[in-house]
Amino acid sequence: MQAFTALTGLVAPLDRVNVDTDQIIPKQFLKTIKRTGLREGLFYDWRKKKDGSPDPEFFLNQPRYQSATILLTRDNFGCGSSREHAPWALLDQGFRCVIAPSFADIFYNNCFQNGILPVALKVDEVQALFKGAVKEGYRLTVDLASQTVATPDGTTYRFDVDPFRKDCLYKGLDAIGLSLQHDAAIAIYETRRQTEAPWLFTDLTTH
């Protein structure tokens, strides 16, 4: 996984609440067996007008946001299905950070698995960033070490992140590799549980 330390990048604002993962990446793009190439599916239904032509009003169709790396949005971003295709598509578009007042749990978690930093700020702070983003070329600096978002005028906002997740993202660690280091502890746990609750260990391959 790609590490996330600090990022100064262009902000793309998506002013909608409850953006669900069906909007982020519709079902027809879930048939892939790869993690890459999902950019064309990102916000697919919102990118087009009713007649199928590209909607020039939609933010990601505008030239000014083409190099954006920070997505700014509203409450409950990423609600709905568990599809990791949502962060994969955001990453494929170039987004490394999503800022919102709140996130759905599974999406929030999936971001950390893919080198994307989800930043939850207070509602009024997000509102202030939306005001700033009206200006063309609005950039923010997101620093994971100090857990801050800095605006061009020098205002900084602090955000929370679990220390363990922070460390994994900061160093770009392979979470499976980390858990495998505890192989002995897992084996001890299994041995104990097999005695306590043997019905949990029925082998399904016999069915």
């Binding site: 609600c79 568990s82 978690n109 363990f164």
Partner: protein, 467 residues
């Protein structure tokens, strides 16, 4: 000594180790796998040269992409076919049990788990699908995960988790006749909102929940994720034990007796405080219909489409305006005046035998309105078989419903079952998001019997006074 909640008991029993900040390596008893969210996980294992730690703890089934028409014809869409073939190859390569498309046990992953006795109280169960919360109906801790975590569980049988908070949702009183678990959960989401449960595991309690059948509890727990909670649970009781006994993957003989005794200790201890408690009165729950593009945009069938002008703040005004525009609805229209084009009875929320029995009892002797296309998609091959033995397929067919093969179907429209742009559907599924059932399609979530009545009348009706 302070007591524990059902959730705490299961969580504590599955802790392998804890990091200084509380991040926990949590043991996963069982995993369900389907074709959409697993290929990249298996690919990851292969690339890293890793093997599943316990192949016998995982059960796989294709469900999202499968056609619900004649299976002998195969899958017309080559990309869907490839995804299903990939699942078959991966299961073969890694020694994982798979119910193939031609196996009568095939079905929606959250229907077949309980049906097979795979799902047991006190377990931790995961799947790369957000509706894994369904299995919480048995007093299991069950939640959806992303593909990276699917790979993590295959490789380690564990997950790194932060401990969620607990929320009790207590529903007491008496549900009115013809109101069901679907109406209860939609009313809950209407009350707490689609982010109300974020960061929490919900435990449903109260006399109404105790009175629900296992299938009703599954419908309830299924939509916990629509309330923002990754998991929802109901404490196991004698109904739970009776449901599990004799199912193919359930323990047998002495082992079953021992397990059933252990399950008795799972319910939340008396006097325990949850982090949050929400209460609902069953008498206030009418049959529910969603009017918008989020499951929280819901009202009683005796209500009206809301007026954006009456919304308390700018944010909800804008969201309501946007939703009504997408849904093609005017403010203040009575719900019963909304006409529909299609009806879908199915999905991991409402496709079990009890749902179909009840729906059939209302469809019997009726005719689907000429302007409506209606379909019934059983949750599994075994549900379909059972329904056919009981003659339910004939009742549906005689009434003008199409009777299909098992799968996710038009809940998310990954197969050929889709809404056309602008079409309006009364659906027993769980999500009314924009484009969920097909680009431009308009979804209204309802219970199975509300869907039947809408199919017959061509518009929503209050099922409490129907015929």
């Amino acid at each position: 000594m302070a007591g524990k909640t059902l959730f705490d008991k299961i969580w504590d029993a599955h802790v392998v180790r804890t990091e200084p900040d509380g991040t926990t390596l949590l043991y996963v008893d069982r995993q369900l796998v389907h074709e959409v969210t697993s290929p990249q996980a298996f690919e990851g294992l292969k690339l890293a040269g890793r093997k599943p730690r316990r192949p016998g703890a995982t059960l796989a089934v294709p469900d999202h992409n499968v056609p619900t028409t004649d299976r002998k014809l195969g899958i017309a869409d080559p990309i869907s076919a490839k995804q299903i073939r990939t699942l078959e190859e991966n299961c073969k390569d890694f020694g994982i049990t798979l119910f193939t498309m031609s196996d009568v046990r095939q079905g929606i992953v959250h229907v077949i788990g309980p049906e097979q006795g795979f799902t047991l109280p006190g377990m931790t169960i995961v799947c790369g699908d957000s509706h894994t919360s369904t299995h919480g109906a048995f007093g299991a801790l069950a939640f959806g995960i992303g593909t990276s975590e699917v790979e993590h569980v295959l490789a380690t049988q564990c997950l790194l988790q932060t401990k969620p908070k607990t929320m009790e949702i207590r529903v007491d009183g008496r549900l009115s006749d013809r109101c069901s678990a679907k109406d209860v959960i939609l009313a809950i989401i209407g009350k707490i909102g689609t982010a109300g449960g974020t960061g929490y595991v919900i435990e449903y309690t109260g006399s109404v929940i105790r009175g629900l059948t296992m299938e009703g509890r599954m419908t309830l727990c299924n939509m916990s994720i629509e309330a923002g909670a990754r998991a929802g649970m109901v404490a196991p009781d004698e109904k739970t034990v009776a449901y599990i006994k004799g199912r193919p993957m359930a323990p047998t003989g002495d082992l079953f007796e021992r397990a059933a005794k252990a399950w008795q200790a799972l319910p939340t201890d008396s006097g325990v405080k949850y982090d949050k408690t929400v209460e609902l009165k069953a008498e206030q729950i009418a049959p529910q219909v969603t009017w918008g593009t989020s499951p929280g945009m819901v009202t009683g069938v005796d209500g009206k489409v809301p007026d954006p002008k009456m919304m308390p703040d700018e944010k909800s005004r804008k969201a309501t305006e946007h939703a009504l525009e997408y849904m093609g609805l005017a403010p203040n229209v009575p719900i019963t005046q909304i006409t529909i084009d299609k009806v879908f009875i199915g999905s991991c929320t409402n496709s079990r035998i009890e749902d179909l029995r009840l729906a059939a009892s209302f469809a019997k002797g009726k005719k689907v309105a000429k302007s409506v296309y209606a379909m019934v998609v059983p949750g599994s091959g075994l549900v379909k078989q059972q329904a056919e033995q009981e003659g339910l397929d004939k009742i549906f067919r005689d009434a003008g419903f199409e009777w299909r093969e098992a799968g996710c179907s038009m809940c998310l429209a990954m197969n050929a079952d889709v809404l056309q742009p602008g079409e309006r559907c009364a659906s027993t599924s769980n999500r009314n998001f924009e484009g969920r059932q097909g680009a431009g399609g308009r979804t209204h979530l309802v219970s199975p019997i509300m869907a039947v009545a809408a199919a017959v009348e061509g518009h929503f009706v209050d099922i409490r006074n129907w015929k």
